[in-house]
Subunit: 401 residues, 2 copies
């Protein structure tokens, strides 16, 4: 089996450059009226040209039938087996709002909720209060210090927020306070290992203080915490691949994931053109670029077939500039499929193309789900994309004599 | 997962015959002028006929993006996972010059080098002395006996030779004397485990004796040793597959690899026709033949597209005679790709065809990289070739009731 250890042994630095262009949620399903997917509907002359001179296939981010979240989808693209490299829910949520989680920190997901006078939860989501309201309440809770542990509280969306406990090395083995049902009281947070006693005590005190502070803010008069976890320690791409990798992403979650594997985060704007411009401006400083396009996934999640088509067409236009930089390897893929007809992530394999001077072109002439079935890369695990890109950039030594 | 243990459980002897024809470095890349690979350029009516009535696919010797050396490439073809079945560098080099390495032996790779009066290495390769000169010097060092251990020294090429220490069971856990740089003295060989103390002492004495013997042979006035290792113990093909396997190879490295997995080595000549004739002459004595053709790889390594095409055409011609023997299973593949445009081994998957009365033919009508993409075998690990060949020879029992 090809392991990261093997790749680390074989990888060597070189002046060649790799661009990994991730169109989030790229894969789709046919529109009932036309029988064509979003990608098949979009006019994509540049992607089609790359497909014609490159090699195509369909990648499985996690495995057949498995619908990936954003984290496993991206970890696979970076070459990390998404089943063994796990990120706790609290840590992932903190990463998702660009919180700079430190090694000793413990993060938890939080909900504002409604509690009645008897102390029972009547609404786990506090009537889905607005993000503005939630932001205001988070400010009331943020910055408490309990037994020398500082508690950070940051809004996420509507009733959702994150809490991060910082102060020495805290152990996260405690249960959720969120009972995941209404009509009962919040659970007392208890340690499941002796090392976590300290965090359990502090988290319970924090919940009690929050209850006092929020008492006049009905319906958001209490909090629920879950998914206590630490920032995972992953081997860095710099060490495995000997790359100088950079990430360009307008959404915090993807910057956070890139940071976890040791990429440098480049500041960028919010549009597709901004992101491509950032790549051009930083082209000489790095030899690997992860360029993340969020819009296709958002449109798919909204069930907006036409908008997803438009995002793909915008990426195709911006691609011309990237191609003119002549990177040694260009990979275009997604972290999973998000068919508009399903209004969510799906398990379908993801159209993937790889272009390099040294790829073996197949007979695929256009970039689409249907064409990729007949591609030279075949159907393959997304974790193979990085070794393939590295090989095509002539950055991997021969294995064995 | 399919393991050798499972195959061993299911395998049974039978009168059917399998021929595994390995065209070393078979896979290629398109010639810039024609867009066709070496195999696509070659006129191969016999291979095309086999492809049409057989089933085709693309095999990965080690894995996506991994460029295999000859040893891992062949181990995969014999059904052994090339990442877990490892061969030490010294042992591989000894095998490569057809040295009959015994279980207790320790082999090391050697270089003649140049040392100055202060004892510092000034040229790690002794000015790349000729193979003739090196052969002569090896004769001076060969056959020394130190503490009841006999030291064999055999030339490889130019400044390179092998040393084999024989005498009881020697432990190979010692460091290289080769410091891999110039301007420093050769390293003293030290044991990294107590069991290896004896070998370390003997190897140091050997280096000292070599220095004395070579003192008048400047620039080759010293030796450097590295990669101390023993012959690995692999389960034999006779036991796993219950076959009577024979190897036909004009190059010593491939005979050595075949010997490691328990094949009988058949004497043969140097031409492709010689090798096919050897198969015909021994056809009744074995039920498995590994027939190795070196020329395609050598041509690819030399960047000689036309010569590689010619070698493939020669194999195709010789194939007619093999087909007329009506083997039950014929597999044609390579141990890796060696595209002439890359002048070396590469990571690209290898065109593979399997013909038997019981294969399920696909729609592939010609043997080529592009056609194999659409083959019924799909894209698959090369370690699956042996189980497939065994099944098609009706030599594997049903698994489970």
């Amino acid at each position: 089996m090809i392991t990261l250890e093997l790749i680390k042994e074989l990888a060597h630095p070189s002046p060649t450059r790799i661009v990994l262009l991730v169109i989030d949620g790229l894969g789709g399903l046919p529109h009932p009226a036309t029988g064509k997917t979003e990608l098949e509907t979009a006019r994509t002359p540049n992607l089609d040209k790359l497909a014609a001179i490159g090699v195509c296939g369909l990648s499985d981010p996690v495995g057949s039938g498995i619908t990936p979240g954003s984290a496993p989808g991206h970890l696979a693209l970076f070459g990390y087996d998404p089943v063994s490299f796990n990120i706790g829910r609290g840590a992932l949520e903190a990463i998702g709002v660009d919180f700079d989680l430190q090694p000793g920190d413990v993060a938890a997901r939080g909900n504002f909720c409604t509690m009645d006078k008897a102390g029972l939860i009547t609404d786990r989501r506090a009537g889905r209060i607005s993000t503005e309201k939630s932001t205001e309440l988070c400010r009331l809770l943020d910055g408490l210090v309990i037994e020398n542990v500082k508690v950070f509280v940051r809004p996420v969306q509507e009733h959702r927020f994150i809490t991060v406990f910082r102060g020495g090395s805290l152990s996260p083995e405690v249960n959720d306070s969120d009972p995941q049902q209404e009509g009962v009281a919040p659970r007392v947070i208890a340690a499941s290992s002796p090392e976590a006693d300290r965090l359990a005590g502090i988290a319970n005190q924090f919940a009690a203080r929050a209850q006092t502070i929020l008492s006049r803010h009905h319906p958001a008069n209490m909090i629920l915490l879950r998914g206590f976890s630490r920032r995972p320690h992953f081997p860095a791409m710099t060490e495995i691949y000997k790359l100088k990798p950079a990430a360009i992403a307008s959404y915090p979650m993807y910057r956070g994931l890139a940071r976890l594997v040791g990429m440098t985060i480049l500041e960028t704007g919010t549009s597709i053109e901004d992101e491509f411009r950032t790549l051009t401006q930083n082209y000489s400083n790095h030899d690997f670029f992860f360029l993340h396009i969020k819009g296709a996934d958002s449109a798919g999640e909204d069930g907006d077939f036409t908008r997803k088509v438009r995002v793909i067409e915008q990426v195709d236009s911006a691609l011309a500039g990237l191609i003119s930089l002549e990177p040694d390897v260009i990979v275009v893929t997604g972290d999973h499929s998000t068919p508009a007809v399903l209004k969510g992530h799906s398990w379908h394999p993801v159209p993937t193309l790889l272009y390099s001077k040294w790829c073996r072109p197949d007979r695929v002439k256009e970039f689409s789900e249907a064409a990729c079935v007949a591609g030279g890369l075949g159907r393959f695990p997304a974790t193979q994309i990085m070794p393939l890109a590295m090989a095509n950039a002539l950055k991997l030594n021969k294995f064995g004599a």
